[in-house]
């Protein structure tokens, strides 16, 4: 199994565009996942009876094989980026929802009471007190969801998308290891860079943690 270095040199443009397409799919999914799980998490946090149901549902969705989700979405959203993104979003929910609920749980009751005593309205308390304090736990979820999505995007190569995953099917069909190795390495790099960027983002978003440190 040797690497054909000249192939890599000849395909830098393709590799760049595949990498960006890969990243875009993963990030869109995490963003949508957050958009969905934030309100759901607030509901799960406040309404105890719904909590088990929502977390259980996200768990069940997580057990469905990703390839099957993509295929089953085909009659609905076709061979489009939308199919890829919906499929990936479903998988981010399990981590994002759980971590957001746990993050909200971790906010001390006293803090919330203090906000209430100061006459802060519930929505404002949520936005300015609870969510910021829950941020570290939520961000931990975002990091896991991002890395997971980046790894999963390639499954969508079975439905003609999949960013760097295209390199896997290509290499498979032609008995050609170079694209496959390059695809795996770029996926890992992408995950590492995205994770580092999220750590930096968290650092920026939680200034109070820095001052204390």
């Amino acid at each position: 199994m040797t690497i054909d270095w000249s192939w890599i040199g000849d395909h830098t443009d393709d590799l760049t565009s595949l990498t960006f397409s890969h990243l875009q799919a993963a990030l869109t999914a995490v963003f949508l996942g957050l958009l969905i799980s934030l309100p759901l998490a607030v509901v799960a946090h406040r309404v105890r009876p719904l909590r088990g149901f929502l977390l259980g549902l996200s768990n069940v969705l997580f057990t469905i094989p990703s390839i099957a989700i993509f295929v089953l979405l085909l009659p609905i959203s076709g061979l489009t980026r939308t199919t890829t993104v919906i499929g990936l979003t479903v998988y981010t929910l399990v981590v994002l929802l759980r971590n957001t609920v746990e993050g909200l749980d971790s906010v001390p009751a006293k803090t919330k009471e203090a906000a209430k005593a100061m006459g802060t309205r519930p929505l404002r308390t949520l936005l300015t007190v609870e969510l910021p304090l829950a941020l570290p736990v939520i961000m931990a979820g975002v990091r896991i969801a991002t890395v997971m999505s980046i790894s999963l995007v390639s499954v969508a190569t079975y439905i003609g998308d999949g960013g760097l995953g295209q390199l896997f099917t290509d290499g498979f069909q032609r008995d050609f290891p170079t694209p496959v190795i390059v695809g795996v390495v770029l996926t890992l790099l992408l995950a590492v860079v995205a994770d580092a960027a999220l750590v930096a983002l968290q650092y920026v978003l939680t200034p109070w943690k820095r001052r204390r440190a």
Binding site: M1, N59, V60, F62, T63, I64, P65, S66, I67, A68, I69, V71, L72, P75, I144, V147, M148, I150, S151, L152, V153, S154, V155, T157, Y158, L164, G165, L167, F168, T169, G171, F172, D175, F176, P177, V180, I181, G183, V184, T187, L188, L190, A191, V192, D195
Partner: protein
């Protein structure tokens, strides 16, 4: 949509669908074999590693980062790569599944170990316990809930991903997903997906039941 679910019910309950080498029963057995064996191998690698790191506190940074690196490994890419290297064999499947499961097991085992109160460990040492006694009699039992969480997570991921075996010509429930795709039979795809989900959920419930049984004395 209703039609689809009606056909699904028919597919799942028909006796002929369950029989034979390409029947549900056989595919289910194959799927369980791949998943359980891969998870066992992953546990054999991940548990000692996590315990060692947690107990000694050495190499934690490296191990945790490697684990998150491992989580980013694209399964499809790994399967294809090992396939190109080894040819038609079960290696691609097992290597990919083990690589998928190890990170969850290592990180959760390590997290469980670090969550053990240092005062408890000191107290144990103070009573004259040796290193391995502290590990097995104090740390391990206390860390067990998180370790079990890691194992359960790994098992769910492996069960759901073992569908990939069908991509490289082997069996398991993934056969229904890939063959259904090729034969334009959405019922078969859905049936395969549902069976995988059910297996994952049943195994998870089983493990959580085991967990509760193991700790039945603790909270009482």
């Amino acid at each position: 949509m209703f039609e689809l679910f009606k056909n699904l019910a028919k597919w799942l309950t028909s006796g002929s669908q369950w029989a034979g080498t390409d029947g549900i029963a056989h595919r289910l057995a194959e799927h369980l074999q791949y998943s359980l064996l891969a998870t066992l191998i992953a546990a054999a690698i991940g548990l000692p590693l996590g315990l060692l790191i947690g107990h000694t506190g050495k190499g934690a940074f490296l191990a945790i980062n490697l684990a998150s690196f491992g989580r980013a490994l694209p399964t499809v890419g790994l399967v294809v790569l090992v396939f190109l290297a080894s040819g038609l064999s079960m290696w691609p499947v097992y290597i990919a599944l083990v690589a998928l499961a190890v990170p969850s097991i290592v990180t959760n085992t390590y997290a469980g170990m670090t969550a053990v109160d240092p005062d408890v460990k000191d107290a144990a040492r103070g009573q004259g316990m040796r290193g391995h006694q502290v590990l097995f009699q104090v740390e391990l039992p206390l860390a067990l809930p998180l370790i079990m969480t890691g194992l359960r997570l790994a098992l769910i991921q492996v069960v759901s991903t073992a569908t990939v075996a069908a991509y490289v010509s082997f069996g398991g429930l993934g056969r229904f997903v890939f063959d259904g795709l090729a034969q334009r039979d959405l019922v078969q795809v859905l049936g395969g997906a549902v069976l995988v989900a059910v297996v994952a959920i049943v195994l998870d419930l089983g493990l959580s039941g085991l967990q509760r049984f193991l700790f039945r004395h603790r909270t009482a």
